[in-house]
């Protein structure tokens, strides 16, 4: 028999549900607005207002987006950078965190502090640029993900997770004749799947959303990431120009479909990474939880 709810509890539930629904609408509507705007006919969409359904359905904006060379090249760059960055980044983060999690590593404190130092202080944009130039990484995909592969925050999260794995596991493996590498790849990594998936997702989202790297390190526009292309499309508006103190009217963008095009581009650039979430989410929740409770 179900426990009978008191009046107060019922009111609480009703209010709760209503609040949640309002919150959900607040979250979903902007997204919905973008989708509906991108599907609308430009001259009708321009009159604004709420969009519950597209105003005069058309797919032209999407057709144009997919015919845009920059978008397709951007997709290529973003895929390379996201997959490469998430893969390499997760691997090197896991490998860096492992020795740091061992109590008996010599100089562990110094290494940890050195890593921590970079978390609070950076060289700044120009030195970073010059470094990448000296490394001959300018104008290559490497520049977009190698510098961002190691993040101290991620290392700390993984390190804490490793601490939860009993030392005896490693000891027994060693007794059976496993080398350090074998222990790491055959025992530690498989046990760390939840945290690795979480970190991989962190990194992937980070790399996917990054536009600044492309803007700074890449000269060949065909190598810009999707987000950089999108950013350029979005900020080429009258508002952005006015903010920069320019008062002329941008004749180039007086094309009506500019805004629907922008909306369609936003959808095209957001959906791929959005699709990844459900698949990784089970790890995501588990990962952060396990990493956070030590014991």
């Amino acid at each position: 028999m179900a426990i009978k709810e008191s009046k107060g509890e019922r009111i609480f539930h009703v209010v709760n549900v209503i609040l949640m629904i309002i919150l959900m609408i607040l979250m979903i509507y902007p997204f919905w607005y973008v989708i509906m705007y991108s599907l609308s006919k430009p001259e009708l969409a321009m009159s604004g207002g709420a969009f519950l359904k597209p105003k005069g359905f058309t797919l032209d904006a999407y057709k144009m987006v997919f015919r845009n060379r920059s978008i397709l090249y951007g997709l290529k760059t973003s895929l390379i950078v996201t997959i490469g960055g998430a893969g390499i980044g997760t691997l090197v983060s896991a490998m860096t965190a492992y020795p740091l999690s061992k109590k008996d590593m010599p100089g562990k404190k110094i290494f940890t502090y050195l890593f921590l130092f970079t978390m609070f202080f950076g060289g700044g944009l120009v030195p970073e640029y010059l470094l990448l130039k000296k490394l001959h990484m300018l104008d290559t995909y490497w520049a977009l993900f190698l510098p961002g592969c190691i993040s101290v925050w991620n290392i700390l999260v993984i390190k804490n997770f490793y601490k939860g794995i009993p030392d005896s596991l490693e000891e027994s493996a060693k007794i059976d004749g496993a080398s350090d590498l074998t222990v790491f790849f055959k025992i530690i990594l498989p046990l760390s799947k939840p945290i690795l998936a979480t970190i991989a997702l962190f990194l992937a989202v980070g790399f996917w959303n990054d536009f600044f790297g492309s803007i700074v390190y890449i000269f060949d526009k065909d190598k810009w990431s999707l987000q950089a292309v999108l950013r350029e499309i979005i900020t080429n508006t009258q508002e952005a120009m006015t903010r920069q103190g320019i008062t002329i009217r941008n004749e180039n963008s007086s094309n009506v479909s500019q805004k629907t095009l922008t909306m369609a581009t936003i959808m095209v650039t957001t959906i791929p990474i959005l699709v990844v979430y459900p698949f990784v989410q089970k790890y995501f929740v588990k990962g952060t939880m396990i990493g956070s409770v030590k014991g």
């Binding site: 060379r69 903010r243 320019i246």
Partner: protein
């Protein structure tokens, strides 16, 4: 043993290969420079597509090899430009930029930019000099040197105008407003007499743009009728140059605006931020001060309005006359908002300037805008008709020289638009002394103003908005004027402004003499 050998071999191979790679690169660059000059150039306008048909064709016609460096969007372009200028190898030969006053000064001091005067004089056809008048060059000339030239100089001194909805006027049987009183009367009728006929009280007499912060130009019909722009310096009738916000006439204009707002005649997003195009096309406002280009039937906003209200008609009108019979439109600054410079990266700056000069012709202008005749456009009854779609145009890279190319006009505007531009230029030029843009650097010549400018601006915006929206009493305005003179050293600012104004006149005469003698193309 074996391992070491292999390692050694590998090292040697890699060393040799990198050595050869280096050689190869050098060879190609040197052989190319003998045939065609290589020019790298930053681009902001146009479709920003790399390696397009246009890029190649332009190179062919000007006998140069162009390397276009696309600047990112408006929020990040300065970061990129800065980095480019820090890096000797990646620095563009021709730099397009806008704003960046501080950086520009540093570039000049560091010797990164090339003085253009001798180079421009040595060009064969002097296309650039033909187009640049003394007025246009004056703001950028300093101590006998010219490190940048203004581009996008197609304007004629004014690109805004007062608009009124002609169809609303007709529906309510009203005349085109001429004076401030008419203006208020029409605004009142537009607000209260349901001009859109939908039975709802949802229209406003007057509205204006606000892209994030209050744009005082939006209030021009009232402010300028009283003679001064609050956010600009201008020559006052007593012979001193004063900040428009501080003169008694502006106080009167403020009261008019306050009363209008109180009556509900002003659309409120003018203070909070809006999209002016949307406001117009949504059929919300009857009068506003905005871009002349809205008048063009092909303009996006105009089209959107017509899609919404088929019989809508935007009518640009003469500026509203104030109580003293004065009226004005917003005068554009004499130079431009963007520039090009030649950097020290150019091995042969003269050759680069020669190519730039050859670029500013009608032929290249047509190529940039329309492509090749017969292939991408045709001429019908003296009119240029594009035969390709907007998308193809972008893919070809047409328009890449946007904001860079200037030269002889190759298309005439439709007559009504040409006339509008001409009329507005006249009404704006009449106000050039009263709404004055300094050509010489304010940073260097008006230190007192620079010291307080931010505070003055903030206080002015706060109090002006407060007074108009009725949150502050008009006595707050008097407090502002008081603070301006006492706290912010207003008298000293006026002295410096007046001195700068006079200095400009003298310097300009001097420059004009130099220009006429050295630079003017007969």
């Amino acid at each position: 043993m074996n391992r070491k050998k292999i390692l050694c071999l590998l090292l040697i191979v890699s060393l040799i290969s990198s050595f050869f790679a280096g050689c190869n690169k050098k060879e190609t660059t040197s052989s190319n420079s003998t045939e065609k000059i290589k020019i790298s150039m930053t681009l902001m306008g146009g479709p920003k597509k790399p390696n397009t048909w246009f890029q190649e064709e332009l190179g062919k016609r000007l006998n140069a090899e162009f390397d276009f460096i696309m600047l990112p969007g408006w929020e990040e372009k300065n970061v990129k430009t800065n980095l480019l200028m820090q890096d000797k190898d990646k620095m563009p030969d021709v730099l397009w930029f806008n704003g960046m006053g501080k950086e520009y000064k540093q570039w000049v001091e560091a010797g990164l930019l090339v003085d253009l005067i001798p180079l421009l004089k040595n060009t064969k056809d002097k296309n650039i000099l033909k187009k640049l008048t003394a007025e246009m060059l004056f703001p950028y000339y300093k101590d006998g040197k010219l490190y940048r030239i203004p581009t996008d100089i197609g304007g004629n001194g004014c690109c805004m105008t007062t608009y009124v909805r002609k169809d609303w006027l007709d529906k309510l049987g009203l005349e085109v407003p001429k004076t401030v009183d008419d203006f208020i009367k029409v605004a009142r009728a537009f607000t209260k007499n349901d001009p859109d006929g939908n039975g709802k009280n949802d229209t406003y007499g007057f509205g204006g743009q606000n892209s994030g912060s209050v744009d005082w130009r939006a209030f021009s019909p009232i402010f300028y009728a009283y003679g001064y722009a609050p956010d600009f310096f201008g020559m006052y009738k007593d012979g001193t140059v004063k900040l428009g916000a501080t003169v008694p006439e502006t106080r009167k204009a403020l009261i008019v605006l306050r009363d209008m707002y109180k009556e509900g005649l002003i659309e409120p997003t003018i203070f909070t931020g809006n999209d002016i195009g949307q406001l117009i096309s949504k059929n919300k406002i009857g009068m506003f001060y905005s871009w002349q280009s809205f008048y063009n039937p092909e303009d996006g906003t105009n089209k959107a309005l017509k899609a919404n209200v088929p019989n809508a008609e935007l009518l640009p009108i003469d500026p509203i006359k104030g109580p003293e019979g004065f009226s004005a439109d917003y005068p554009e600054p004499p130079g431009s908002w963007c520039y090009i410079s030649v950097t020290s990266h150019a091995k042969d700056p003269q050759a680069v300037v020669n190519v730039l000069d050859k670029m500013m012709t009608k032929e290249i202008g047509l190529l940039n805008e329309y492509g090749e005749e017969g292939k991408h456009y045709k001429i019908e009854n003296g009119k240029i008709v594009r035969t390709i779609s907007e998308e193809e145009k972008n893919n070809l890279g047409l328009g890449s020289l946007g904001w860079i190319w200037f030269g002889p006009k190759f298309i005439e505007d439709p007559p009504q638009i040409a006339k509008l531009a001409e009329d507005r230029a006249k009404s704006a030029n009449a106000a050039r002394d009263r709404i004055h843009h300094f050509s010489l650097s304010i940073r260097e010549n008006m230190p007192t103003y620079m010291k307080h400018a931010t505070e003055i601006d903030d206080m002015m915006n706060e109090i002006f908005v407060g007074v108009i929206t009725g949150q502050k009493d008009i006595s707050e305005y008097d407090k502002f004027v008081n603070a301006y003179y006492n706290k912010f050293e207003g008298h000293q600012i006026e002295k410096e402004a007046t001195e700068l104004y006079n200095k400009e006149k003298v310097e300009f005469e001097k420059f004009k003499e130099f220009y006429d003698k050295e630079l003017k193309v007969q």
